[in-house]
């Protein structure tokens, strides 16, 4: 009973998914923002479902032909398990060991089982829709192809409801082991980085399966592809019987026994996690909190670097360098911010790598040949690379990211233009560097004429400055400072979408007409220079206005309430 009440309290206390939460959003006029953000999530979901439907269709064709119609659901469940296991590790770490409500919960007369149970319930509820996203498209395709049977309905319901049990339990058990084995306070970001890396590998793998199976089927080489997929299915289902039991209801030989086995294994896994986790929960949490304790407790009397004179530690660096260090301190203060920035920096090389992996070599060669021979190569490359390196939330949420610490920025006697100038320099240090690296990559792949660098280097700089000015405007006007979760500051911040839209529009408006000019036969180099000059003019027009606006905003335009 206490566990259920606690789970309800956690949901009510940390989300707006309750009538009170919706009323509060309405009262604060935030419903529109949340609806827009929800639409964004739906678009993302639609893209994932679209990708999955493509994969499942190909797999169903292969499965039906090889006598395994359950194959698409099997792979769906497998994808769901891998994804849930990878994401549940940081989730379990965060919910069990790093959530802020632990300070309160540990003082209440609650048994560890109640706390772990409540948090487990919240995690399970979080995993259910993810599991459904993986499985429902596969089920719909299967039902559409061969109709629905009683065994398929029961089996489907079981995997939808119990699907997350096994990966979530294993993730919790893995976390219990990690907490015992490693200093998590020290290596938390490393763990999250590994999880994120594996997640990217999974997405790339799915893309590769989609592309290769689609191309394979379309090119008439399906028999070999079908045999390979069916063989792989047989091997995996032998190695992972619970997955085979779970989808047996969709197969040619359904039975109650395999389904019962799946239900039993899921229940046993949940029981193991719920039974083991509370055993050491309190002591583990206490140890972690002690490891995070203040220097007054744990580190007093430390020698070594601490003996250096203060002036070596606090050199005067000038306000710009100090503000740049502040920007870095802000972005590295949270792994969510850091990973978002890194992934945005690497987006173009990552995309090139992915397409290099998933597309047939012959097709890549043809595409590169076509691109290299086009007269608009240099200018288009400048535009595309500038665009890709400007599609970033780093600058368009730069003020929001400061959160309550924005009060410090408003307190210090430093003009708004200086603070925004520091943000621009920080942006250029990150993204103009990325632009240069991407250009180098572009030269290696497409061999554009080196003379084009005459406009590509200054043009890119100006385009990024103009993109920055357009992108940061919304955040400067109304930063979202009162966030409780870092995702709200960067990923789920409407300023990010608005800023990216404006940056993209500014860059397309500058480069687009000159690309069209080349298409109509005008001299490519002259057009490139003209586009570079136009970019410089645009930056020259936007930046002074931005700085004047920043002065006004930092001098009272931005308020810190609460």
């Amino acid at each position: 009973m206490k566990t259920l009440a606690l789970a309800e309290a956690v949901i009510r206390g940390t989300t707006w998914l309750t009538p009170d939460g919706v009323r509060d959003l309405l009262r604060r006029g935030r419903l529109l923002t949340v609806t827009a953000a929800g639409l964004g999530v739906l678009v993302g979901l639609a893209m994932i479902v679209f990708m999955l439907v493509g994969i499942y269709r190909s797999l169903l064709l292969a499965g039906t032909a090889s006598g395994h119609p359950e194959i698409s659901i099997f792979y769906g469940l497998l994808g769901s398990w891998v994804f849930l296991f990878l994401t549940a590790i940081p989730l379990a770490l965060s919910v069990l060991y790093y959530s802020r409500d632990l300070r309160l919960l540990l003082t209440l007369p609650l048994r560890p089982l109640a706390i772990v149970g409540a948090k487990g319930a919240v995690m399970y509820l979080t995993c259910l829709p993810v599991n459904a996203v993986f499985l429902l498209p596969a089920m719909c395709i299967s039902v559409r192809a061969s109709g629905i049977t009683a065994s398929a309905a029961v089996s489907g319901l079981a995997v939808l409801v119990l699907g997350p049990a096994l990966p979530l339990s294993l993730a919790v058990l893995a976390v219990l082991g990690l907490v015992k084995a490693v200093n998590l306070t020290r290596y938390r970001i490393a763990f999250e980085a590994v999880g994120m890396g594996l997640g990217i590998v999974l997405v790339i793998g799915l893309q590769a399966i989609l592309a290769r199976s689609t191309i394979g089927l379309a090119s008439g080489s399906s028999p070999q592809a079908l045999t390979g997929i069916a063989e792989l299915y047989t091997r995996i289902s032998h190695a992972l019987p619970p997955a085979a039991w779970a989808v047996s209801g969709f197969g040619t030989n359904p039975g109650v026994f395999p389904l019962l086995l799946f239900v039993s294994v899921s229940a046993a896994a949940l029981a193991a996690a719920l039974g083991l986790a509370p055993l050491h929960f309190l002591s583990d949490v206490m140890e972690r909190r002690e490891a995070q304790g203040g220097p007054g407790v744990a580190r007093r009397g430390r020698s070594g670097v601490g003996d250096l004179p203060l002036h070596l530690w606090s050199p005067a660096r000038g306000i710009l360098r100090s503000l740049l260090a502040r920007e870095w301190a802000l972005i590295s203060s949270n792994s969510t911010f850091l990973f978002k920035a890194i992934s945005e920096l690497l987006v173009l090389p990552l995309l090139l790598g992915v397409y290099g992996l998933i597309l047939p070599r012959q097709l890549v060669g043809q595409a590169m040949g076509t691109i290299s021979s086009t007269p608009m190569l240099s200018l288009a490359l400048m535009g595309v690379v500038a665009l890709m390196t400007s599609l970033t939330t780093v600058s368009s949420t730069s003020l929001s990211r400061e959160g309550r610490r924005m009060s410090l920025s408003l307190m210090i006697p430093v003009r708004g233009r200086v603070q925004v100038w520091a943000k621009l320099v920080f942006h250029l240090l990150l993204f103009y560097s990325a632009y240069l690296v991407d250009l180098a990559l572009g030269w290696l792949l497409f061999r554009f004429p080196p003379v084009s660098l005459v406009f590509m280097l200054p043009g890119g700089l100006a385009l990024q400055a103009a993109g920055f000015a357009a992108g940061i405007f919304f955040d400067l006007k109304r930063p979202r400072l009162m966030w409780t979760h870092p995702q709200q500051a960067m990923k789920n911040n409407m300023n990010a979408a608005a800023g990216i839209g404006c940056s993209a529009a500014a860059i397309l408006l500058i480069v687009g007409p000159f690309v069209l000019g080349i298409a109509r036969g005008l001299n490519p180099f002259a057009m490139g220079c003209a586009a570079g000059a136009a970019a410089i003019v645009l930056a020259g027009v936007l930046l002074p206005r931005l700085f004047a606006f920043a002065d006004r905003q930092y001098a009272g335009g931005i308020e810190i309430e609460g």
Binding site: Q292, G293, G294, P295, G296, V297, R299, R300, G301, R302, V305, G306, L310, H311, W313, S314, P315, A316, R317, G318, I319, R321, S322, A325, R326, W328, A329, L330, S332, S333, G403, R404, R405, S407, L408, L410, M411, I412, P413, V414, R415, Y554, A555, G556, E559, I560, E561
Partner: protein, 247 residues
Amino acid sequence: MIQLRRISKSYDKGRVQAVKDLSLEVKKGELFGFLGPNGAGKTTTIKMIVGLLRPDTGHVVLHGIDAQGEPLKAKRLVGYCPDEPVLYERMTGIRFLSFIADAYGVPADERTRRIEELAETFELNDSLREMVGSYSHGTLQKLSITAALLHDPDILILDEPIVGLDPRAAYTLKETMKSLCARGKTVFFSTHIMEVAERLCDRVGIISRGELIAAAPLEELRETAGERHATLEKLFLEMTDEDSRAR
């Protein structure tokens, strides 16, 4: 000198009136305690003084400078320690102080001297090389106070500064506040601890439901109430009760 000229502030599109038509003058060298029940408008008033909130109406004037008209000049005069320290947790304490010194333009040699002096005073020496994120609440508070004092401000504004400090640090802070006033600086602080206000302040102001209901030395408050030996706590409770009943 701090002059608040008929300042008002409301939240939630005017539905909540946090501060109403508040006028107050705190002189140079004065130690002023700002008291009030929870939600009375203390922090809102303080945020308007330091420039974190803009008054809907009225003006904040610091040493003759209109804080809205010339915010940079006004900010240079002020050192502010908020009720909840908000610092950059991925900086070391010393790096944070260095950032603040850069922001206020404190020269290199002076900053080292000031940091050494203040770190010694508030016993921060062992913590300054550590990441701010690892600090206890009390150490964060000490660092926040040190940052507020680093540029030797003419006006020091503190919001609930004693909360979270250990007895030694609380004593040190109180002595520092007194010595600042002795040097002609103005100190304005809010507190719920009546004994501190009673012992420390030249004058106290009491705010209730957004309105300043009293601003006078303790003796004068006692005379007005007709209770020569009443404690500040008793006077505060009576005045805020009366104010609640009157509405």
